[in-house]
């Protein structure tokens, strides 16, 4: 066991405190708007904290550290793209300002405002499939991190995963977005302290000279220049730019924060400042991965060209190198703070994702289908109940998928491809709907279906390279929108949209 008594005390105190605060927030949930978008009362600072905490989890640290271990400093290009794109979106208000003015609660809701209820349901299904598949690997990887760092036997991985999920589920189901925002704020503070501590210890131990020398020796030019690294190249960079514009605009958990702000101006400022945080969100864990390469990268070269990490004479997977480094580096007390910080990161992401994807399932799939079947509108309390049941359903699926899906290749690539399933079509349809007067229903359907096919078929069936898959999905979605809109009838202007404009 790597944990001392003081570490357990810190971790248990953190978990109990989080649960208590999350549960207490339930009394602020009076209606559906409180449950899904915290009554649209988010200010700037708590907005930054919740958006950053939502997109910084143990899963983020793990996949970025793995990418840093395998690709060196060249991997920094992904962090730079994410931060710069967010700053551009924040400064210009591209999509997010219009969305906030429309007072939406979910991204697919826009499809009913602009296109039709049928397309809202199709989009809701694709968003839910992509989002839940994306979240499906979180628990397994987070469980791996915790078992390695704390030294718990790996046979308890399932129990650790279940316990994490149950804790998040309790406060998300009860307090919805209000609980999530308050716990996100505290979790953001804790995870940031942990991030800074690990960076300090890792660089101090590995040594800057050794870090740069190891990357140059193992990877050569490809460890620094993304265009010289076979993992990246132009197709990857262009796909990442498109993907990040789409993430800022249409990723449900990010969009929910924009919908929850107290106005379009706050939404823009939250996005801009979180963009600056996103530079560190990527680069710092990548640096941990490179430090782990310095400390443990002594084994034979693997299939992907990176040396196998060797810890105490045992070969481990590259994704496990960073947690093994943390387990080795940190002393009692500090380890407890860092693990509590990582748990905070885990819980903030998972609770937000649970709320995000289950809100799409309930608001954009279940309720519209109910309405199509001719059943009357439900009251706010019944809608909250359906949201809570969807939360439980998503949790069960995530547990199952996390246990049985064999993840091969880079985790980062899996996550970006599953996101692309709906992001390519949703982004093209949203941008077309907001900024191109010719965009119509046929174009919307074609973009969503061709974008999804462009991600699913090449990646899961044809086993194409992820870079080309992502490129193909966005290209097909764009083609579908343009061809469908030019061939179909022109839509009438929508009053809600005209008012927002």
């Amino acid at each position: 066991m790597n944990f001392a008594a003081i570490d357990w005390i810190i971790v248990v105190a953190y978990l109990a405190g989080s649960l208590l605060i999350g549960v207490m927030a339930k009394r602020y949930v009076g209606n559906l708007s409180d449950f899904l978008v915290a009554g649209r009362e988010l200010g700037l600072h708590v907005g930054i904290a919740t958006l950053a905490a939502t997109e910084i989890g143990t899963i983020t640290f793990m996949y970025f550290a793995e990418l840093g271990y395998k690709a060196g400093f060249a991997a920094f290009c992904t962090a730079a793209i994410s931060g710069i794109v967010m700053i551009i979106v924040g400064r210009t208000g591209f999509v997010i300002s219009r969305f906030r003015e429309l007072k939406l609660m979910t991204v697919p809701e826009y499809f009913e405002v602009k296109y039709s209820q049928g397309l809202r349901i199709v989009t809701g299904i694709l968003v839910a499939i992509g989002g839940i598949l994306n979240m499906g690997v979180f628990l397994k990887i987070e469980g791996q991190f915790l078992t390695i760092v704390s030294g718990i036997d790996s046979k308890y991985l399932v129990a650790v995963m279940t316990a994490i999920l149950l804790l998040e589920l309790v406060y998300t189901v009860l307090g919805g977005m209000v609980s999530v925002v308050i716990t996100d704020f505290l979790q953001y503070v804790l995870l940031s302290v942990a991030t800074i501590l690990v960076t300090f210890y890792a660089v101090n131990t590995a040594g800057w000279e050794n870090i740069t020398a190891k990357v140059t020796t193992v990877m050569g030019e490809g460890g620094w220049n993304p265009l010289a690294n076979q993992r990246f190249g132009w197709t990857f960079l262009i796909w990442q730019v498109l993907l990040w514009f789409a993430m800022c605009a249409c990723w449900q958990t990010t969009a929910m924060r924009m919908f929850a702000t107290n106005g379009p101006k706050t939404a823009k400022r939250v996005m801009t400042w979180t963009g600056v945080i996103f530079l560190g969100r990527g680069m710092l864990p990548m640096l941990w991965g490179i430090c782990a390469l310095v400390m443990f990268g002594t084994g034979p070269l693997g299939a992907d060209g990176s040396p196998t990490p060797i810890v105490n004479g045992h070969a481990i997977a590259p994704i496990e190198a960073m947690p093994a480094m943390i387990a080795t580096l940190l002393g009692p007390g500090v380890k407890g703070i860092v693990v509590a910080g990582m748990l905070a990161a885990t819980m903030s992401v998972n609770s937000s994702y649970l709320l995000g994807w289950s809100s799409v399932l309930s608001q954009d799939v279940i309720l519209p289908i109910r309405s199509k079947l001719g059943k009357g509108d439900l009251g706010s309390k019944s809608q909250i109940l359906i949201n809570r049941l969807a939360n439980v359903g998503v949790s069960l699926f995530v547990m199952f998928w996390g246990l049985y899906y064999p993840l091969s290749g880079s985790t980062y690539m899996y996550l970006t491809i599953t996101g692309t399933i709906f992001l390519s079509g949703a982004f093209v349809s949203v941008v077309g709907g907001l900024y191109w007067s010719r965009a119509n229903l046929l174009g919307g359907y074609a973009a969503m279906l061709m974008g999804a096919a462009g991600a699913i078929i090449p990646f899961f069936i044809l086993h194409w390279d992820p870079n080309w898959t992502g490129f193909c999905a966005f290209g097909l979605a764009l083609l579908g929108m343009v061809a469908g809109s030019l061939l179909g009838k022109k839509s009438n202007s929508v009053p809600a949209l005209s008012a927002a404009e």
Binding site: L42, F76, F185
Partner: protein, 49 residues
Amino acid sequence: MNGWQLFWTIWLLFSGAAFAIITLVVTLKGFGDVKRMLSGIKAHDKTSE
């Protein structure tokens, strides 16, 4: 390669410093935002009742 090394080192220093500074500001000012959010939600709910 030296150019790239310098380029990423500058990015890393900027990103790390910005991360730490924004965290500090958000921590200090966020509590006030949470309080305002909760009182805003209560006020909303009272009005809608």
